[in-house]
Homo-oligomer: 560 residues x 2
């Protein structure tokens, strides 16, 4: 029996909605015109005082309250299941819910705590949301593909279906985390917006005219709505940073090999020139750190062959705080205000300037950063996305015959093209390595410009030209992709919100390129008003400890 | 003007010989029949007492003597230039000599020492030989290709020719090392013997009927002859370990990303599924350690984008010695006696057994190691060598039209074949990762078999079925290649010498495969008599500190 993709998609969409307990359903979902911003006061209307308190506490705070016996894991879990249910109804951000399993796990954690008078691990009782690439037992993984419904990664009757768990999921359970939902992605994962034929389009909770970012867009929307305190996304071209930035969150893109990707679903699996990496998004920098530190405590290199044996290096974090808290110490940042092809829209330009000012005011130095061979490096990076001519993603679409979202066909067309050969790939790898070398040398060379004798500590830079994009408006990846090409560490720091009264292009602004013209014409101060605006702090490879501390420090300077 | 490859090769071969000062030339080179073993007493005949003392001191001892002002860098350098000259005449192990530059550098180091009363770095005055993949200013790099003569990696009129230096060369100079020669390789680097159309065939100094191994075969022969105390080779399938083992040396194959490969010539550059790695060979384990530790002191991750920020971890070395020196501590080793397809020839089987006995006698435990999916994993590893259908190496041969050695055509044929596509490569990468995961899990699972609650510390295993191979006899790579496929750390430990009186196949031995039959028929106790026999100790990924300490300890147990 052949089932058409529409029926499959509709059934799945309905099943997700039906998994939300009737008591938590919203009678009438307002339109964006009726309710642009569904965070804060709007969301609170549906929640008890206790639920509000719990869901508006960050992951570190939750872990502390549960560890102190003040909150039960069950109460915390239930509050987030409720708020996540609201989020999905308003934003289409969930692919899977498994609230009953979560409550059972929470109950077991409470029993453990009662018996042992201690927590199971540093994430004891903390709800953690997962991008829909993680395999969790008894839960489906579709990654937004209709053709993956009822299969294991598109394979029918695979024994792993419903039983297999990704390595990171195993570690989260060891750490005491409570897993309760999986979040939406753009099919293929290769877009800065989140759209697929199952859930439709994931909206930005702060501004429902705008996207939630992508590809970890469900995470961004859910955590932005406070339907989760802490979640895990992945990033091959900006997919953690874009949703973090668009939703006012902290998020880290670690270097490949720091955190375990083992056993996760993915696109173009086995393309190993530029690797997708896994990393957390959260409402505070310290919560992002909690996750990274907790995972490293599990020695993931013993379970994931691609993880490097590199435990959490406390001294690298301490170094940052020693400098931050010392009258003598001084950081130097490079700043990349524009990539020269698409200038940031006014709110983003203002956010970068705010960060520069705050850092300078605190006694540190900011120098311009000249990114060597910026666009050539990005070109070699983007090439890796289509080494296979799109075979992998088009095969996945062909399973159901579903149509391809425009946000995807912009990169992958509507049918596969020729594959690259081994020699093509090798040549691109060499070009990438040479670019990385040039970048290292340029970074080292700043030692003579900082005045401290040391090279810059990090680069301040936009993560996109937009505060958040309008549907089909996310078209310029250059601000995030260079970081993936270099495999550098980047942490997103929320800065401010768009303000229609001040964020305007200068009168007579002349776009510097066709792409810039598109961004310029796309900007609408009214629509963007109130949207989150963020920047990224980029450090060298494997600088997770340092960059997380710097992000937290810069967040403090900004009053976050 | 077209020059035929023979004239070019002959001119280069002559130029190498002519670069040896007349005073150091040997009047008549004996045949192998006349002088099978040219080490020890034979070599000493040509040297002064002081030269013998210097050249038979290990790198650590040399560094100490020079640092103490007992030996000058010039005296040390001259002694090794002399002995290396003898080595080349007897063994064909050099591609380049630059003795004058070396002596000038040594003189400058002596002046530095006289002025500052301290050394320039931990390798001050230590001669270091380099495989002919390193670029050194004013010195050619041919990698054994006739078509590379007078070019930069085959490219004519490239500005880097004669001026460029590899990153590791820069670091060696910073460390105070004296560079004086580059050593022979099989053209393409992809063989366990060393043969090319320039220098011909590199022989084993201990047994000139046998090969010196490959592809760092010039290093193996040179250091085995004591024409160098410490050298650097590379390894993508055994190319450090085979020459180390065949010449009675210690040598390490570190994990990819530990030591800097930046700016070196290579084959199939940009193939990034299984990477060639650089690592030292030396006469003692502590000298190998000296090099690794010295290089890491240079923060190579700031200069090579593929190097991981992982300084020397002294505590990992200390842990080994604490256990070794404690009555309570205990190591557990796995032992892989045969891969089931080609059984080790009798001297190798005996060496493995000697190591097991020595370890057990010292109070440690040895358990059998079942290598999961051993040959399937090796198959995916070997596939990476020909992803490009041999295009890279055949292009290099085509530059001059030179013929391809049989040891190479056995893997690459005589003409290129079809290239693998991006999808083929990705699928192979996934298969490799799954194998690595299976291996990790199997290693972890030994925790329940060791009796200590900890998994095994290392695997003892042959590095080849042969003590050393006869010309065209190196045909079985499985004992080394699995380590490259897994990216594990392996250190070669010399164990004993073949003995015609005891190393015999059991009467009525029945080969277990056609390959085993070849190895069986190849064995000749008379020819092999006296040859070095070694094993490798294999640790997990990035276990350089631990494995070097274990190798030194096992060497001590064996009386090395």
């Amino acid at each position: 029996m052949v089932t058409d993709w529409k029926s499959l998609a509709t059934a799945k969409r309905e099943a997700i909605l039906q998994s939300i307990p009737p008591k938590w359903r919203i009678a009438k979902i307002p339109t964006a015109e009726e309710q642009k911003d569904v965070t804060g006061a709007y969301a609170q209307e549906f929640l008890s005082q206790k639920e509000i308190e719990i869901t508006e506490t960050d992951a570190v705070g939750i872990a502390e309250k549960v560890a102190a016996g003040q909150w039960s894991a069950v109460d915390v879990t239930e509050a987030f299941c409720h708020r996540a249910s609201l989020a999905h109804q308003l934003l289409n951000c969930l692919h899977e819910t498994f609230f009953d399993a979560a409550l059972a796990d929470a109950k077991a954690l409470d029993a453990y705590y009662a018996e042992h008078k201690k927590t199971k691990g540093p994430l004891h009782g903390v709800p953690v949301s997962l991008k829909d690439q993680f395999h969790v037992k008894n839960v489906e993984t579709t990654m937004g593909y209709v053709g993956w419904i009822g299969t294991f990664e598109g394979k029918k009757e695979d024994p792993r279906q419903g039983t297999y768990e990704s390595e990171l999921v195993r570690e989260l359970r060891e750490l005491g985390a409570v897993l309760y939902c999986k979040t939406s992605v753009p099919h293929t994962l290769m877009a800065g917006e989140t759209v697929n034929n199952i859930i439709g389009y994931t909206w930005n909770p702060k501004d429902r005219f705008l996207c939630s970012g992508g590809s970890s867009g469900g995470e961004g929307a859910l955590i932005g709505f406070r339907g989760s305190p802490l979640g895990l996304g992945t990033d091959i071209g900006g997919s953690i940073r874009i949703p973090a930035g668009f939703n006012g969150l902290f998020g880290i893109r670690p270097s490949a090999g720091r955190l375990p990707y083992e056993g996760m679903a993915n696109s173009m699996d086995g393309q190993n020139s530029v690797l997708s990496v896994v990393g957390p998004l959260a409402t505070t920098a310290r919560s992002v750190k909690l996750m990274v530190q907790s995972l490293l405590s599990q020695s993931p290199w013993l379970y994931d062959p691609l993880v490097v044996e590199m435990p959490w290096r406390q001294e690298q974090e301490d170094d940052v705080w020693n400098t931050a808290n010392s009258a003598l110490g001084e950081f130097t940042f490079g700043v990349l205000k524009t990539d020269g092809v698409v200038n940031p829209q006014p709110p983003v330009a203002r956010a970068v300037q705010m960060v520069v000012k705050a850092i300078e005011k605190a006694g540190h130095k900011v120098i311009p950063w000249e990114s060597p061979d910026h666009h050539a490096g990005i070109t070699t990076t983007l090439k890796t996305w289509t080494f296979d001519g799109g075979k992998d993603v088009h095969d996945a679409f062909a399973l159901s015959g579903e149509p391809i979202a425009e946000q995807i066909s912009m990169s992958y067309g509507n049918a596969p093209t020729d594959q690259k050969t081994a020699s093509d790939i090798a040549a691109n790898n060499v070009a990438q390595r040479q670019w990385k070398k040039k970048y290292l040398d340029a970074w080292n060379s700043t030692a003579s410009a900082t005045g401290t004798g040391n090279p810059i500590d990090a680069i301040i830079c936009p993560l996109a030209p937009y505060p958040a994009a309008r549907p089909k408006g996310y078209r310029w990846y250059a601000y995030t992709v260079w970081v993936n090409g270099l495999d550098y560490t980047s942490v997103v720091v929320p800065v401010t919100n768009a303000d229609k009264n001040i964020d305007k292009y200068e009168p007579g602004y002349t776009p510097v390129s066709d792409h810039d013209k598109t961004a310029f014409e796309d900007y609408d101060a009214e629509i963007y008003d109130g949207a989150h605006v963020s920047v990224q702090l980029v450090g060298r490879r494997f600088q997770e400890e340092k960059m997380l501390a710097l992000a937290e420090y810069v967040g403090q300077l900004l009053g976050k």
